[in-house]
Point group: C2
Chain length 282, copies 2
Protein backbone atom coordinates (compact mmCIF):
# COMPACT_ATOMS: atom_id res chain seq x y z
CA UNK A 1 0.00 0.00 0.00
CA UNK A 2 1.66 3.17 -1.19
CA UNK A 3 0.03 6.51 -0.46
CA UNK A 4 1.14 9.75 -2.08
CA UNK A 5 0.11 12.80 -0.05
CA UNK A 6 -0.74 15.47 -2.61
CA UNK A 7 -1.48 18.23 -0.10
CA UNK A 8 -2.03 18.88 3.60
CA UNK A 9 -3.93 21.90 4.85
CA UNK A 10 -4.75 22.77 8.42
CA UNK A 11 -8.48 23.19 9.02
CA UNK A 12 -10.25 23.82 12.33
CA UNK A 13 -7.26 22.50 14.25
CA UNK A 14 -7.18 19.33 12.17
CA UNK A 15 -5.89 18.45 8.73
CA UNK A 16 -7.35 18.13 5.25
CA UNK A 17 -5.29 15.84 3.06
CA UNK A 18 -5.59 14.78 -0.56
CA UNK A 19 -4.06 11.41 -1.24
CA UNK A 20 -3.33 9.42 -4.38
CA UNK A 21 -3.02 5.65 -4.38
CA UNK A 22 -3.31 2.75 -6.77
CA UNK A 23 -6.61 0.93 -6.48
CA UNK A 24 -6.33 -2.76 -7.27
CA UNK A 25 -10.12 -3.05 -7.32
CA UNK A 26 -10.56 -0.27 -9.88
CA UNK A 27 -7.37 -0.91 -11.82
CA UNK A 28 -6.31 2.73 -11.81
CA UNK A 29 -4.87 5.46 -9.63
CA UNK A 30 -7.41 7.20 -7.40
CA UNK A 31 -7.41 10.39 -5.35
CA UNK A 32 -9.40 10.73 -2.14
CA UNK A 33 -9.64 13.38 0.56
CA UNK A 34 -9.54 12.82 4.29
CA UNK A 35 -10.31 15.23 7.10
CA UNK A 36 -8.50 14.33 10.31
CA UNK A 37 -9.90 16.23 13.30
CA UNK A 38 -7.56 17.51 16.04
CA UNK A 39 -8.28 14.41 18.14
CA UNK A 40 -6.45 12.32 15.51
CA UNK A 41 -3.16 13.66 16.91
CA UNK A 42 -3.74 12.13 20.34
CA UNK A 43 -1.67 9.08 21.20
CA UNK A 44 -3.55 5.86 20.55
CA UNK A 45 -6.52 7.58 18.93
CA UNK A 46 -8.93 5.36 17.01
CA UNK A 47 -11.65 7.64 15.71
CA UNK A 48 -14.91 6.82 13.96
CA UNK A 49 -15.04 7.49 10.22
CA UNK A 50 -17.79 9.00 8.12
CA UNK A 51 -17.54 8.03 4.44
CA UNK A 52 -19.02 10.70 2.17
CA UNK A 53 -20.06 9.78 -1.37
CA UNK A 54 -20.47 12.71 -3.77
CA UNK A 55 -22.80 13.13 -6.71
CA UNK A 56 -22.53 13.17 -10.47
CA UNK A 57 -19.53 15.10 -11.89
CA UNK A 58 -17.93 15.54 -8.46
CA UNK A 59 -14.47 14.59 -7.22
CA UNK A 60 -13.01 14.34 -3.73
CA UNK A 61 -12.93 18.15 -3.58
CA UNK A 62 -16.56 19.31 -3.70
CA UNK A 63 -17.57 18.19 -0.25
CA UNK A 64 -14.39 19.30 1.47
CA UNK A 65 -14.48 22.77 -0.08
CA UNK A 66 -18.19 23.52 0.06
CA UNK A 67 -20.04 21.57 2.76
CA UNK A 68 -18.53 23.34 5.75
CA UNK A 69 -18.34 20.03 7.61
CA UNK A 70 -14.92 20.41 9.22
CA UNK A 71 -16.05 22.68 12.07
CA UNK A 72 -18.49 20.14 13.48
CA UNK A 73 -16.27 17.15 12.61
CA UNK A 74 -13.52 18.77 14.68
CA UNK A 75 -15.94 19.27 17.56
CA UNK A 76 -17.22 15.68 17.38
CA UNK A 77 -13.89 13.99 16.69
CA UNK A 78 -15.04 12.47 13.39
CA UNK A 79 -12.74 11.52 10.53
CA UNK A 80 -14.36 12.20 7.14
CA UNK A 81 -13.26 10.39 3.97
CA UNK A 82 -14.41 11.61 0.55
CA UNK A 83 -13.53 9.33 -2.38
CA UNK A 84 -13.78 10.27 -6.02
CA UNK A 85 -17.02 9.35 -7.80
CA UNK A 86 -15.64 6.95 -10.41
CA UNK A 87 -12.49 5.38 -11.72
CA UNK A 88 -10.46 7.85 -13.78
CA UNK A 89 -7.70 7.94 -16.31
CA UNK A 90 -6.95 7.54 -19.98
CA UNK A 91 -7.41 3.77 -19.74
CA UNK A 92 -10.85 4.04 -18.16
CA UNK A 93 -13.67 4.29 -20.71
CA UNK A 94 -16.10 7.18 -20.22
CA UNK A 95 -19.48 8.00 -21.68
CA UNK A 96 -19.40 7.28 -25.43
CA UNK A 97 -21.33 10.49 -26.03
CA UNK A 98 -19.27 12.60 -23.64
CA UNK A 99 -22.22 13.10 -21.30
CA UNK A 100 -21.74 13.98 -17.62
CA UNK A 101 -24.22 11.44 -16.23
CA UNK A 102 -22.32 8.27 -17.13
CA UNK A 103 -18.72 7.11 -17.00
CA UNK A 104 -16.11 9.43 -15.49
CA UNK A 105 -17.62 11.17 -12.49
CA UNK A 106 -20.65 8.88 -12.59
CA UNK A 107 -19.67 5.45 -11.26
CA UNK A 108 -23.00 5.06 -9.43
CA UNK A 109 -21.29 3.01 -6.69
CA UNK A 110 -22.05 -0.30 -8.40
CA UNK A 111 -19.93 -3.22 -9.56
CA UNK A 112 -20.35 -3.25 -13.31
CA UNK A 113 -20.87 -6.59 -15.00
CA UNK A 114 -20.92 -5.50 -18.65
CA UNK A 115 -17.96 -4.86 -20.97
CA UNK A 116 -16.23 -2.49 -21.28
CA UNK A 117 -17.30 -1.10 -17.89
CA UNK A 118 -16.69 -4.22 -15.81
CA UNK A 119 -12.91 -3.86 -16.07
CA UNK A 120 -12.76 -0.68 -13.91
CA UNK A 121 -16.21 0.34 -12.70
CA UNK A 122 -16.32 -1.37 -9.31
CA UNK A 123 -16.93 1.61 -7.07
CA UNK A 124 -19.04 -0.46 -4.68
CA UNK A 125 -16.17 -2.79 -3.79
CA UNK A 126 -13.82 0.18 -3.64
CA UNK A 127 -16.00 2.13 -1.22
CA UNK A 128 -17.14 -0.79 0.93
CA UNK A 129 -13.93 -2.81 1.11
CA UNK A 130 -10.72 -1.43 -0.35
CA UNK A 131 -10.91 2.15 0.84
CA UNK A 132 -11.91 1.41 4.48
CA UNK A 133 -9.14 -1.19 4.73
CA UNK A 134 -6.67 1.42 3.56
CA UNK A 135 -8.05 4.11 5.88
CA UNK A 136 -8.07 1.85 8.93
CA UNK A 137 -4.49 0.78 8.25
CA UNK A 138 -3.00 4.19 7.44
CA UNK A 139 -4.82 6.59 9.80
CA UNK A 140 -5.94 6.64 13.45
CA UNK A 141 -9.30 5.30 12.30
CA UNK A 142 -11.47 2.67 13.93
CA UNK A 143 -13.85 0.28 12.24
CA UNK A 144 -16.80 2.31 13.54
CA UNK A 145 -18.11 3.50 10.17
CA UNK A 146 -20.88 5.79 9.04
CA UNK A 147 -21.80 6.58 5.47
CA UNK A 148 -23.55 9.48 3.80
CA UNK A 149 -23.71 11.19 0.45
CA UNK A 150 -25.49 13.45 -1.98
CA UNK A 151 -27.67 12.62 -5.00
CA UNK A 152 -25.88 9.73 -6.77
CA UNK A 153 -23.79 9.54 -3.59
CA UNK A 154 -26.91 9.45 -1.43
CA UNK A 155 -28.01 6.44 -3.46
CA UNK A 156 -24.55 4.96 -2.94
CA UNK A 157 -24.61 5.51 0.81
CA UNK A 158 -28.03 3.94 1.24
CA UNK A 159 -27.15 0.97 -0.96
CA UNK A 160 -23.83 0.33 0.79
CA UNK A 161 -25.51 0.38 4.20
CA UNK A 162 -28.54 -1.70 3.22
CA UNK A 163 -26.44 -4.40 1.58
CA UNK A 164 -24.03 -4.78 4.49
CA UNK A 165 -25.70 -5.38 7.84
CA UNK A 166 -23.28 -4.68 10.67
CA UNK A 167 -20.70 -2.92 8.54
CA UNK A 168 -21.99 0.62 9.16
CA UNK A 169 -23.38 1.99 12.40
CA UNK A 170 -25.08 4.98 10.79
CA UNK A 171 -26.32 6.16 7.42
CA UNK A 172 -27.83 9.32 6.00
CA UNK A 173 -28.32 11.02 2.65
CA UNK A 174 -28.99 14.36 1.00
CA UNK A 175 -31.34 14.31 -1.98
CA UNK A 176 -30.57 10.67 -2.84
CA UNK A 177 -31.51 8.98 -6.09
CA UNK A 178 -33.90 6.76 -4.15
CA UNK A 179 -35.27 4.56 -6.86
CA UNK A 180 -32.73 4.40 -9.71
CA UNK A 181 -34.63 1.59 -11.45
CA UNK A 182 -37.38 4.13 -12.11
CA UNK A 183 -35.55 7.33 -13.14
CA UNK A 184 -33.61 8.42 -16.23
CA UNK A 185 -30.22 8.78 -14.53
CA UNK A 186 -30.54 5.35 -12.95
CA UNK A 187 -31.91 3.60 -16.00
CA UNK A 188 -29.07 4.90 -18.16
CA UNK A 189 -26.39 3.90 -15.67
CA UNK A 190 -27.79 0.53 -14.60
CA UNK A 191 -28.62 -0.64 -18.11
CA UNK A 192 -25.05 0.01 -19.24
CA UNK A 193 -23.14 -1.09 -16.15
CA UNK A 194 -25.37 -4.11 -15.41
CA UNK A 195 -27.12 -4.95 -18.65
CA UNK A 196 -30.79 -5.00 -19.58
CA UNK A 197 -31.95 -7.64 -17.08
CA UNK A 198 -33.79 -5.49 -14.58
CA UNK A 199 -33.79 -8.26 -12.01
CA UNK A 200 -30.07 -7.55 -11.56
CA UNK A 201 -30.81 -3.89 -10.87
CA UNK A 202 -32.73 -4.65 -7.71
CA UNK A 203 -29.49 -5.21 -5.81
CA UNK A 204 -28.63 -1.53 -6.45
CA UNK A 205 -31.97 0.13 -5.79
CA UNK A 206 -32.67 1.52 -2.32
CA UNK A 207 -36.41 1.03 -2.59
CA UNK A 208 -35.97 -2.62 -3.58
CA UNK A 209 -33.30 -3.26 -0.94
CA UNK A 210 -35.35 -1.79 1.90
CA UNK A 211 -38.01 -4.42 1.36
CA UNK A 212 -35.56 -7.21 2.23
CA UNK A 213 -33.05 -5.44 4.48
CA UNK A 214 -31.37 -7.63 7.07
CA UNK A 215 -30.86 -4.68 9.41
CA UNK A 216 -33.11 -1.73 10.18
CA UNK A 217 -30.52 1.03 10.50
CA UNK A 218 -32.40 4.36 10.88
CA UNK A 219 -32.21 6.51 7.74
CA UNK A 220 -31.89 10.29 7.97
CA UNK A 221 -32.67 11.92 4.61
CA UNK A 222 -32.90 15.62 3.77
CA UNK A 223 -34.50 16.71 0.52
CA UNK A 224 -34.91 20.27 -0.77
CA UNK A 225 -38.38 21.00 -2.05
CA UNK A 226 -37.04 23.42 -4.69
CA UNK A 227 -34.63 20.78 -6.02
CA UNK A 228 -34.94 20.78 -9.80
CA UNK A 229 -34.29 17.02 -9.93
CA UNK A 230 -36.86 16.07 -7.30
CA UNK A 231 -39.77 14.73 -9.29
CA UNK A 232 -37.99 13.13 -12.24
CA UNK A 233 -34.80 11.73 -10.71
CA UNK A 234 -34.89 11.62 -6.90
CA UNK A 235 -38.36 10.34 -5.96
CA UNK A 236 -38.39 10.71 -2.17
CA UNK A 237 -42.02 9.62 -2.19
CA UNK A 238 -40.92 6.18 -3.42
CA UNK A 239 -38.40 5.99 -0.59
CA UNK A 240 -41.07 6.96 1.91
CA UNK A 241 -43.46 4.35 0.57
CA UNK A 242 -40.83 1.60 0.60
CA UNK A 243 -39.75 2.41 4.15
CA UNK A 244 -43.34 2.54 5.37
CA UNK A 245 -44.18 -0.78 3.72
CA UNK A 246 -41.15 -2.47 5.24
CA UNK A 247 -41.36 -0.80 8.64
CA UNK A 248 -37.90 0.64 8.07
CA UNK A 249 -37.13 3.67 10.29
CA UNK A 250 -36.86 6.75 8.08
CA UNK A 251 -36.65 10.40 9.00
CA UNK A 252 -37.37 12.17 5.70
CA UNK A 253 -37.17 15.93 6.03
CA UNK A 254 -38.52 18.00 3.15
CA UNK A 255 -36.83 21.40 3.34
CA UNK A 256 -38.88 24.23 1.81
CA UNK A 257 -37.04 26.42 -0.69
CA UNK A 258 -33.77 24.46 -0.80
CA UNK A 259 -32.27 23.28 -4.08
CA UNK A 260 -29.80 20.52 -5.07
CA UNK A 261 -26.61 22.49 -4.35
CA UNK A 262 -23.97 22.48 -1.64
CA UNK A 263 -25.70 25.55 -0.16
CA UNK A 264 -28.44 23.08 0.77
CA UNK A 265 -26.00 20.49 2.07
CA UNK A 266 -24.07 23.04 4.15
CA UNK A 267 -27.31 24.23 5.76
CA UNK A 268 -28.03 20.80 7.24
CA UNK A 269 -24.68 19.00 7.41
CA UNK A 270 -24.33 19.62 11.15
CA UNK A 271 -27.52 17.67 11.82
CA UNK A 272 -26.16 14.75 9.80
CA UNK A 273 -22.79 14.83 11.53
CA UNK A 274 -24.49 14.74 14.93
CA UNK A 275 -26.72 11.86 13.74
CA UNK A 276 -23.63 9.88 12.78
CA UNK A 277 -21.62 10.84 15.87
CA UNK A 278 -24.39 9.64 18.19
CA UNK A 279 -24.41 6.20 16.54
CA UNK A 280 -20.63 6.03 16.26
CA UNK A 281 -19.83 7.03 19.84
CA UNK A 282 -17.80 4.63 21.92
CA UNK B 1 -30.43 51.09 -11.31
CA UNK B 2 -31.21 47.79 -12.98
CA UNK B 3 -30.35 44.56 -11.22
CA UNK B 4 -30.43 41.19 -12.93
CA UNK B 5 -30.79 38.34 -10.46
CA UNK B 6 -28.73 35.49 -11.91
CA UNK B 7 -29.57 32.94 -9.21
CA UNK B 8 -31.16 32.59 -5.79
CA UNK B 9 -30.35 29.72 -3.47
CA UNK B 10 -31.64 29.14 0.01
CA UNK B 11 -28.89 28.85 2.61
CA UNK B 12 -29.27 28.51 6.39
CA UNK B 13 -32.77 29.89 6.22
CA UNK B 14 -31.63 32.91 4.20
CA UNK B 15 -30.79 33.49 0.56
CA UNK B 16 -27.63 33.56 -1.52
CA UNK B 17 -28.07 35.65 -4.65
CA UNK B 18 -25.80 36.43 -7.57
CA UNK B 19 -26.63 39.73 -9.24
CA UNK B 20 -25.43 41.44 -12.40
CA UNK B 21 -25.61 45.21 -12.85
CA UNK B 22 -23.99 47.92 -14.88
CA UNK B 23 -21.37 49.85 -12.94
CA UNK B 24 -21.07 53.46 -14.02
CA UNK B 25 -17.90 53.83 -11.99
CA UNK B 26 -16.17 50.87 -13.66
CA UNK B 27 -17.72 51.30 -17.08
CA UNK B 28 -18.69 47.64 -17.39
CA UNK B 29 -21.17 45.05 -16.18
CA UNK B 30 -20.34 43.54 -12.81
CA UNK B 31 -21.54 40.51 -10.86
CA UNK B 32 -21.66 40.45 -7.07
CA UNK B 33 -23.03 38.00 -4.50
CA UNK B 34 -25.15 38.85 -1.51
CA UNK B 35 -26.13 36.68 1.43
CA UNK B 36 -29.38 37.77 3.03
CA UNK B 37 -29.93 36.14 6.43
CA UNK B 38 -33.41 35.02 7.51
CA UNK B 39 -33.91 38.28 9.41
CA UNK B 40 -33.93 40.13 6.06
CA UNK B 41 -37.46 38.82 5.49
CA UNK B 42 -38.85 40.62 8.55
CA UNK B 43 -40.99 43.67 7.87
CA UNK B 44 -38.99 46.89 8.12
CA UNK B 45 -35.65 45.12 8.56
CA UNK B 46 -32.53 47.24 8.14
CA UNK B 47 -29.60 44.92 8.74
CA UNK B 48 -25.91 45.68 9.03
CA UNK B 49 -23.75 44.74 6.07
CA UNK B 50 -20.33 43.14 5.95
CA UNK B 51 -18.47 43.81 2.69
CA UNK B 52 -16.04 41.02 1.83
CA UNK B 53 -13.20 41.69 -0.61
CA UNK B 54 -11.59 38.62 -2.15
CA UNK B 55 -8.04 38.04 -3.25
CA UNK B 56 -6.17 37.70 -6.53
CA UNK B 57 -7.93 35.61 -9.22
CA UNK B 58 -11.17 35.38 -7.23
CA UNK B 59 -14.72 36.34 -8.18
CA UNK B 60 -17.87 36.82 -6.11
CA UNK B 61 -18.08 33.02 -5.76
CA UNK B 62 -15.04 31.94 -3.76
CA UNK B 63 -16.08 33.35 -0.41
CA UNK B 64 -19.71 32.30 -0.67
CA UNK B 65 -18.84 28.73 -1.65
CA UNK B 66 -15.84 28.07 0.58
CA UNK B 67 -15.76 30.26 3.70
CA UNK B 68 -18.72 28.68 5.48
CA UNK B 69 -19.84 32.11 6.67
CA UNK B 70 -23.59 31.79 6.14
CA UNK B 71 -24.25 29.77 9.28
CA UNK B 72 -22.96 32.45 11.62
CA UNK B 73 -24.26 35.32 9.47
CA UNK B 74 -27.73 33.80 9.78
CA UNK B 75 -27.31 33.57 13.53
CA UNK B 76 -26.08 37.16 13.82
CA UNK B 77 -28.43 38.73 11.27
CA UNK B 78 -25.61 40.01 9.06
CA UNK B 79 -25.91 40.68 5.34
CA UNK B 80 -22.71 39.79 3.48
CA UNK B 81 -21.83 41.33 0.12
CA UNK B 82 -19.00 39.88 -2.00
CA UNK B 83 -18.07 41.92 -5.08
CA UNK B 84 -15.87 40.72 -7.90
CA UNK B 85 -12.17 41.59 -7.64
CA UNK B 86 -11.81 43.77 -10.74
CA UNK B 87 -13.67 45.15 -13.71
CA UNK B 88 -14.27 42.49 -16.34
CA UNK B 89 -15.16 42.15 -19.98
CA UNK B 90 -13.76 42.26 -23.46
CA UNK B 91 -13.41 46.06 -23.30
CA UNK B 92 -11.44 45.98 -20.05
CA UNK B 93 -7.69 45.59 -20.58
CA UNK B 94 -6.01 42.81 -18.63
CA UNK B 95 -2.40 41.98 -17.90
CA UNK B 96 -0.37 42.41 -21.09
CA UNK B 97 1.51 39.22 -20.27
CA UNK B 98 -1.57 37.24 -19.29
CA UNK B 99 -0.44 36.97 -15.66
CA UNK B 100 -2.88 36.37 -12.81
CA UNK B 101 -1.54 39.05 -10.49
CA UNK B 102 -2.55 42.10 -12.51
CA UNK B 103 -5.61 43.18 -14.50
CA UNK B 104 -8.67 40.93 -14.54
CA UNK B 105 -9.11 39.45 -11.08
CA UNK B 106 -6.48 41.80 -9.64
CA UNK B 107 -7.95 45.29 -9.35
CA UNK B 108 -6.19 45.87 -6.01
CA UNK B 109 -9.08 48.08 -4.83
CA UNK B 110 -7.42 51.29 -6.08
CA UNK B 111 -8.49 54.07 -8.43
CA UNK B 112 -6.05 53.82 -11.33
CA UNK B 113 -4.61 57.05 -12.67
CA UNK B 114 -2.59 55.68 -15.59
CA UNK B 115 -3.77 54.80 -19.09
CA UNK B 116 -5.09 52.40 -20.14
CA UNK B 117 -6.10 51.28 -16.65
CA UNK B 118 -7.71 54.54 -15.48
CA UNK B 119 -10.70 54.04 -17.75
CA UNK B 120 -12.09 51.04 -15.83
CA UNK B 121 -9.93 50.20 -12.83
CA UNK B 122 -11.67 52.16 -10.07
CA UNK B 123 -12.48 49.35 -7.67
CA UNK B 124 -11.99 51.66 -4.68
CA UNK B 125 -14.81 53.97 -5.68
CA UNK B 126 -16.92 50.98 -6.65
CA UNK B 127 -16.48 49.26 -3.29
CA UNK B 128 -16.66 52.35 -1.09
CA UNK B 129 -19.40 54.31 -2.87
CA UNK B 130 -21.29 52.76 -5.76
CA UNK B 131 -21.87 49.28 -4.41
CA UNK B 132 -23.03 50.31 -0.89
CA UNK B 133 -25.41 52.87 -2.41
CA UNK B 134 -26.89 50.11 -4.55
CA UNK B 135 -27.09 47.63 -1.66
CA UNK B 136 -28.69 50.11 0.71
CA UNK B 137 -31.28 51.04 -1.92
CA UNK B 138 -32.15 47.55 -3.15
CA UNK B 139 -31.98 45.39 -0.02
CA UNK B 140 -33.08 45.63 3.63
CA UNK B 141 -29.62 46.95 4.44
CA UNK B 142 -28.66 49.73 6.79
CA UNK B 143 -25.68 52.06 6.55
CA UNK B 144 -23.99 50.18 9.39
CA UNK B 145 -21.07 48.79 7.41
CA UNK B 146 -18.20 46.49 8.20
CA UNK B 147 -15.46 45.45 5.79
CA UNK B 148 -13.14 42.47 5.60
CA UNK B 149 -11.20 40.52 3.05
CA UNK B 150 -8.42 38.12 2.17
CA UNK B 151 -4.93 38.77 0.82
CA UNK B 152 -5.36 41.49 -1.85
CA UNK B 153 -8.86 41.87 -0.40
CA UNK B 154 -7.46 42.18 3.13
CA UNK B 155 -5.35 45.06 1.83
CA UNK B 156 -8.48 46.50 0.23
CA UNK B 157 -10.53 46.24 3.42
CA UNK B 158 -7.87 47.91 5.56
CA UNK B 159 -7.32 50.70 3.02
CA UNK B 160 -11.04 51.38 2.57
CA UNK B 161 -11.54 51.64 6.34
CA UNK B 162 -8.42 53.68 7.05
CA UNK B 163 -9.21 56.23 4.33
CA UNK B 164 -12.83 56.76 5.38
CA UNK B 165 -13.27 57.63 9.06
CA UNK B 166 -16.84 57.09 10.11
CA UNK B 167 -17.86 55.13 7.03
CA UNK B 168 -17.21 51.67 8.52
CA UNK B 169 -17.88 50.56 12.06
CA UNK B 170 -15.65 47.51 11.90
CA UNK B 171 -12.77 46.12 9.90
CA UNK B 172 -10.78 42.90 9.79
CA UNK B 173 -8.57 40.95 7.41
CA UNK B 174 -7.17 37.53 6.66
CA UNK B 175 -3.56 37.40 5.48
CA UNK B 176 -3.66 40.95 4.07
CA UNK B 177 -1.03 42.42 1.77
CA UNK B 178 -0.08 44.83 4.53
CA UNK B 179 2.62 46.85 2.89
CA UNK B 180 2.08 46.75 -0.89
CA UNK B 181 4.70 49.45 -1.50
CA UNK B 182 7.29 46.94 -0.33
CA UNK B 183 6.26 43.65 -1.95
CA UNK B 184 6.34 42.28 -5.51
CA UNK B 185 2.54 41.97 -5.96
CA UNK B 186 2.04 45.52 -4.73
CA UNK B 187 4.92 47.07 -6.63
CA UNK B 188 3.71 45.53 -9.89
CA UNK B 189 0.12 46.67 -9.39
CA UNK B 190 0.77 50.13 -7.97
CA UNK B 191 3.43 51.06 -10.51
CA UNK B 192 1.07 50.25 -13.37
CA UNK B 193 -2.22 51.52 -11.95
CA UNK B 194 -0.71 54.64 -10.33
CA UNK B 195 2.59 55.30 -12.11
CA UNK B 196 6.14 55.35 -10.86
CA UNK B 197 5.79 58.20 -8.34
CA UNK B 198 5.87 56.28 -5.07
CA UNK B 199 4.52 59.25 -3.15
CA UNK B 200 1.17 58.46 -4.78
CA UNK B 201 1.32 54.89 -3.56
CA UNK B 202 1.19 55.92 0.11
CA UNK B 203 -2.56 56.53 -0.17
CA UNK B 204 -3.00 52.81 -0.90
CA UNK B 205 -0.63 51.28 1.62
CA UNK B 206 -2.00 50.16 4.98
CA UNK B 207 1.27 50.71 6.80
CA UNK B 208 1.54 54.27 5.48
CA UNK B 209 -2.13 55.05 6.12
CA UNK B 210 -2.03 53.84 9.72
CA UNK B 211 0.56 56.49 10.56
CA UNK B 212 -1.88 59.29 9.71
CA UNK B 213 -5.28 57.61 10.31
CA UNK B 214 -8.06 59.96 11.38
CA UNK B 215 -9.84 57.18 13.25
CA UNK B 216 -8.46 54.35 15.36
CA UNK B 217 -10.86 51.55 14.38
CA UNK B 218 -9.60 48.31 15.98
CA UNK B 219 -8.06 45.91 13.44
CA UNK B 220 -8.53 42.15 13.73
CA UNK B 221 -6.06 40.30 11.52
CA UNK B 222 -5.49 36.55 11.21
CA UNK B 223 -2.37 35.26 9.48
CA UNK B 224 -1.40 31.63 8.91
CA UNK B 225 2.19 30.88 9.82
CA UNK B 226 2.48 28.25 7.07
CA UNK B 227 1.27 30.72 4.44
CA UNK B 228 3.63 30.46 1.48
CA UNK B 229 3.25 34.18 0.72
CA UNK B 230 3.93 35.37 4.26
CA UNK B 231 7.48 36.64 4.11
CA UNK B 232 7.70 37.99 0.58
CA UNK B 233 4.21 39.41 -0.02
CA UNK B 234 2.17 39.80 3.17
CA UNK B 235 4.57 41.23 5.78
CA UNK B 236 2.48 41.15 8.96
CA UNK B 237 5.54 42.31 10.89
CA UNK B 238 5.38 45.62 9.00
CA UNK B 239 1.72 45.96 9.92
CA UNK B 240 2.54 45.24 13.54
CA UNK B 241 5.33 47.81 13.58
CA UNK B 242 3.19 50.50 11.94
CA UNK B 243 0.31 49.93 14.35
CA UNK B 244 2.62 49.96 17.33
CA UNK B 245 4.30 53.17 16.21
CA UNK B 246 0.96 54.91 15.66
CA UNK B 247 -0.77 53.51 18.73
CA UNK B 248 -3.37 51.93 16.43
CA UNK B 249 -5.29 49.06 18.07
CA UNK B 250 -4.35 45.83 16.32
CA UNK B 251 -5.13 42.23 17.23
CA UNK B 252 -2.74 40.25 15.03
CA UNK B 253 -3.18 36.52 15.47
CA UNK B 254 -0.51 34.27 13.99
CA UNK B 255 -2.11 30.86 13.45
CA UNK B 256 0.38 27.97 13.53
CA UNK B 257 0.19 25.57 10.61
CA UNK B 258 -2.42 27.43 8.56
CA UNK B 259 -1.84 28.33 4.92
CA UNK B 260 -3.30 30.95 2.53
CA UNK B 261 -6.39 28.97 1.51
CA UNK B 262 -10.08 29.12 2.29
CA UNK B 263 -9.53 26.21 4.70
CA UNK B 264 -7.71 28.80 6.81
CA UNK B 265 -10.41 31.43 6.34
CA UNK B 266 -13.22 29.00 7.19
CA UNK B 267 -11.43 28.00 10.41
CA UNK B 268 -11.58 31.55 11.77
CA UNK B 269 -14.43 33.28 9.93
CA UNK B 270 -16.80 32.92 12.89
CA UNK B 271 -14.47 35.00 15.07
CA UNK B 272 -14.42 37.73 12.43
CA UNK B 273 -18.19 37.71 11.99
CA UNK B 274 -18.63 38.09 15.75
CA UNK B 275 -16.07 40.91 15.78
CA UNK B 276 -18.07 42.75 13.12
CA UNK B 277 -21.46 41.98 14.64
CA UNK B 278 -20.41 43.42 18.00
CA UNK B 279 -19.42 46.72 16.40
CA UNK B 280 -22.40 46.79 14.04
CA UNK B 281 -25.07 46.04 16.65
CA UNK B 282 -27.82 48.58 17.05
Amino acid sequence: MSLEILSTQKSFGGWHKRIRHHSDVLGCDMVFAVYLPPQAAQAGARLPVLYWLSGLTCTDENFMQKAGAQRMAAELGLIIVAPDTSPRGADVPGDPDGAWDFGHGAGFYVNATQAPWSRHYRMYDYVVEELPALIEAAFPASDRRGISGHSMGGHGALVCALRNPGRYRSVSAFAPISNPMQCPWGEKALSRYLGEDRAQWREWDTCALIAQAGERLPLLVDQGEADGFLAEQLKPEALHAAATAAGHPLTLRLQPGYDHSYYFIASFIDDHLRHHARALAG
